[in-house]
Amino acid sequence: MPSRSFDAVVVGAGIVGAACAEELARCGLSVAICESAIVGGGATAAGMGHLTVMDDSEEQFALTRYSQLLWRNLSNELPPDAEFLPCGTVWIAADAEEMAEVHRKYEFYAARGVCAEVLDSRQLVEAEPNLRAGLAGGLLVAGDSVCYPPCVAHYLIAKAVQHGALLFQPARVTEIIVSGVRLTDGSLIESKIVVLATGAAARELIPDLPIRPRQGHLLITDRYPALVRHQLIELGYLKSAHAVDSDSVAFNIQPRATGQLLIGSSRQFASDDIGVEPSMLTQMLQRAAEYIPRLPQLSAIRAWTGHRAATPDKLPLIGPCVNRPNVYLATGHEGLGISTSLATARLLADQILDRKPEIPIKPYLPQRSFVHYA
């Protein structure tokens, strides 16, 4: 029987947990991974899989930018089923007000070394002929990509195992204690450090975390190759996604490597019900059809929901848990868990291994104050 005593046990084998396990195992720690269901089967499978540089705040930019550079390196070794597609993002401006936002966004990226290109109305039509006529323009960010996250999680777990990590599955952790974690069957996995990476479910083990599940709907279509060429996001997204406390929909569509189209998005602080809400789905698709008039003619394959782990300040929790010195958190990524997973793993390992981080870590530390968001 293998040893049940480790340097670190990672709870949750979504993409964040998988990335943390891989990083820690590669750096020489003995690592156990506990997954209650299947690798990459939670929010990792439910999300869109965009690898996007964001500019909501300097802190969010720093994390997404750092992570994108890590993704660029990883993409060279990913297997085909990871469906890494460097399609770029076009942020779409419907009117003059949103076009002003395009220019602001362009300046923000340009000042920080991110390549972006302002598209006028005509250039937008050339880039995306199936968008409705009369849109004001857009911002093309060519360095963004999409991927199929569950397969990336599998790949990272396999790499962790190659570096000596041990995957316990199915293994549901019921309790975190000072000496490790306890499983459903009462058995103990001993570990100096526990990394909690269970997304919105993290509060099942540590109830007072500042995390709320924020539900989203997605729908995938049949194969319509080249109907959409880039990831498209409406700039109205900024208005709706930022309204933290209300339900909202925003147009977001991705071309997938299969030729399918992945359509989002919705945000709501929902009940525990994970079923599709027809009214929310309808609202989301109507929004998407306002941008792509052909959309109602397409065949859908499946619609589903997932839970983002939302924090009050829209930044993740990466680092030691307050009052639980043996627990490190890697959760609270809201809609950016795929984008920021690799950077999260680095920054977490930097703290565990006492390395110097490549970007300032302070904004993501769980000990930061949330009082002014209350």
Partner: protein
């Protein structure tokens, strides 16, 4: 009798037949090809199996067994 085009070939078909019938009357056996390149055609005939999909007037993935012909339709197997 409506006139339709199946892969560009003009064809007269009886009123109110399905596109699936029109494709069959045109002598086509493969309505489409699967992702792995295998030929596919109508199986259930009632809109459940999605095997009979063709492109109608430029719209891909239309279920031929659930669509009635209309004069001038451009039907393409894929």
């Amino acid at each position: 009798m409506p006139e339709v085009f199946v892969n560009g070939a003009q064809l007269c078909v009886p009123d109110e037949v399905t596109v699936a019938a029109a494709v069959a009357l045109a002598g086509e056996t493969a309505f489409r090809h699967s992702v792995t390149g295998e030929p596919r055609g109508p199986l259930c005939g009632m809109g459940i199996c999605f095997e009979c999909r063709v492109t109608i007037d430029g719209v891909p993935h239309a279920r031929s067994c659930q669509t009635l012909v209309q004069s001038g339709m451009d039907i393409r197997t894929t």
